[in-house]
């Protein structure tokens, strides 16, 4: 009798404790993630609010965290006084051209590897080694060669380097997308009298377009972010946003915050856009097959 009364009580107590533990674990999980979000996004929040502050807000104490009257004055200053418009355009043009060129050159190569196993495993290893190659090893000879050819301070010079440096990465990703594509569809097209190239352009490309968009976005962000080649090879007319932003460091630790923060906001915009568009591919793209399989 006693047992019969005791049992449900114990069960109920256990269930309650279990639920409490689970509830606590849940709260801790969300607290941990909230802390991570504050740490990883806090700097962005601060940079955005700083770029909207008025000059007097910088000197205020207690500090102004969110400006009472947000103003775009620093953006206007950046675009007029610091030639920000020009350098932002440079970045856009150089990244877009490199992205398109890398894609056009890489697609047939990726196709040759995916369909004919061109180069065997050796080519894949070669491409991986190229991607691991430090840029510092290329910048010295390329700088001297460009000086001789008159290619420094030109769009063409920078676009050429970015395109080629990006080929290994683009080929690697595209091979993956092409392997998933059924051979039968292009074979059907070729039986109907299509040449390989036409089958590739008219049949394969439209279908793997989403994959190509992924590669294109990664190429865009990679060239947008590149700094070493940009700082050495560009001149006053061809500077990119990455080079512009470093010019604000000359004022020491208390440099002019307004335009500097505005330029950082513009410089990280593509990263925000791409992080959301490419969620599913972030790991693959960032690791370049390092995590595949």
């Amino acid at each position: 009798m006693a047992i019969a009364i005791e049992r449900p009580r114990i069960v109920a107590r256990r269930a309650r404790r279990y639920r409490a533990q689970r509830g606590l674990a849940h709260v801790l999980t969300y607290l941990g993630l909230a802390a991570a979000l504050v740490f990883f996004l806090g700097p962005f929040f601060w940079i955005v609010t700083t770029s909207l502050k008025g000059n007097e807000d910088f000197f205020a104490f207690p500090p102004v965290w969110i400006p009472a009257e947000p103003s775009l004055a620093h953006y206007v200053g950046l675009f007029t006084r610091s030639s920000g418009a020009r350098y932002f355009t440079n970045s856009l043009v150089i990244s877009s051209l490199s992205m398109i060129a890398a894609l056009v050159v890489s697609l047939p190569t990726a196709y040759a590897i995916a369909r004919w196993r061109f180069g065997g495993g050796l080519l894949s290893v070669f491409l991986l080694v190229l991607r691991m190659l430090p840029a510092i090893a290329l910048i010295i000879p390329i700088y001297i060669m460009y000086k001789m050819l008159g290619l420094t301070n030109s769009y063409l010079g920078l676009v050429a380097v970015y395109t080629v440096v990006y080929i290994p990465f683009a080929v690697w990703l595209l091979v993956g997308f092409l392997r998933d594509f059924p051979v039968e569809i292009e074979e059907a097209a070729m039986i109907d009298g299509c040449s390989r190239l036409r089958a590739l352009i008219q049949v394969v490309v439209p279908i793997i377009a989403p994959g190509m968009a992924v590669v294109a976005l990664f190429a865009f962000i990679a060239t947008w972010n590149e700094f070493l080649f940009a700082v050495v090879l560009t001149g006053i007319e061809t500077k990119t946003m990455m080079v512009l932003v470093t010019s604000f460091t000359s004022g020491g630790t208390d440099m002019f915050y307004g335009e500097a923060s505005a330029s950082v906001v513009l410089g990280v915009l593509p990263a925000f856009a791409v992080a959301f568009m490419l969620q599913r591919y972030l790991v693959k793209g960032l690791a370049l097959g390092g995590t595949k399989g």
């Binding site: 047939p108 040759a112 991986l128 700094f227 990280v268 990263a271 960032l286």
Partner: protein
């Protein structure tokens, strides 16, 4: 295949033709410059002296590996920055990945938000943090003073030791998200049945972590760390903006030192030799990485 001789013949030149444009460009913009750079590294080409140079053999390499205290110091600095960065990125990344792998509402959006720092250029990350560290107007000093934790305007780059801590902090902020993404993918590929079975046998969450998650995540962790390690040997933009190698030369990394030799001192030949020493190091790391990959594939098969 033997049935269609014409088709085979026609196909033979096609793969090469398809691959030719990119291979030609790689030869022109990567392989030829690399060869030219090796040639340069055996000369004494110094733009600050003049445009004439002569063959000096391996002298540059001897200087780099045995005499150049600044370069050898930069190797040490690079290691001192890499070791704590990798350790913290791995632990923090694992922690956040484990939190995300629990049944969390809004996981895709939280993951995408947390991934953003890894998509940002090192230069932009360093610039944002340099401003955060700012002595008078920086967020960190302002917050510290407002909360009463700091009573002076603190210079976060005052000493070599402090500078390295600050650089590591920014590097951790920048690349922990990468580690988190890699590890999260690894955790999610572990079959759920293993956990269900362990739970049925009465294993505590702690036991499940130590005997299921960690062993099955080992290779993913090694691969993630190797990728970060190879990338960290190229650390340049972050240093350029955050410390410019200072104070003194305490945060000069190998890539940054080579940049200074080449484009501040204009000792082109010597910079080429330094870059080849770096390539040698990276090549060794890459081969280790490929070897690990091969082991993993062999185990998976």
């Amino acid at each position: 295949m033997r049935g269609w001789p014409i088709a085979v013949k026609r196909k033979q030149w096609e793969p090469l033709a398809f691959a030719a444009p990119s291979l030609a460009l790689i030869a022109l913009v990567i392989l030829f410059p690399l060869a030219y750079s090796f040639y340069l590294s055996l000369q004494n080409f110094d733009l600050s002296v003049g445009s004439e140079y002569e063959f000096i053999g391996g002298k540059n390499y001897v200087e780099a590996l045995f005499k150049d205290q600044r370069f050898l110091g930069s190797v040490w600095n690079t290691a001192v920055i890499i070791a704590p960065s990798l350790a913290v990125e791995l632990l923090l990344g694992l922690g956040i990945a484990l939190l995300l792998s629990r049944a969390v509402r809004g996981r895709p959006i939280i993951t995408a938000l947390l991934a953003i720092p890894a998509m940002v250029s090192p230069v932009m990350a360093a610039m944002a943090w340099r401003m955060m560290f700012g002595v008078k107007f920086g967020a960190i000093n302002n917050l510290g003073r407002q909360l009463g934790l700091l009573d002076v305007y603190f210079d976060w780059f005052a000493t070599p030791w402090l500078s390295i801590v600050s650089v590591v902090l920014v590097e951790v902020w920048h690349n922990t998200p990468f580690m988190m993404l890699v590890l999260l993918a690894g955790i999610q590929s572990i079959p759920q049945e293993l956990y269900d079975a362990a739970r049925a046998d009465g294993a505590t969450p702690w036991q499940r972590f130590w005997s299921i998650t960690l062993p099955l995540l080992k290779f993913t962790m090694v691969v993630g760390v190797m990728i970060r390690l190879i990338d960290l040997t190229k650390l340049f933009g972050l240093i350029f903006v955050l410390t410019y190698g200072g104070p003194g030369s305490s945060t000069e990394t190998v890539a940054f030192d080579t940049y200074l030799v080449g484009f501040k001192d204009f000792r082109m030949s010597y910079a080429a030799a330094l870059s080849y020493v770096i390539v040698g190091g990276v090549l060794v790391l890459t081969l280790v990485f490929l070897w690990i990959q091969r082991i993993r594939e062999a185990r998976a098969a």
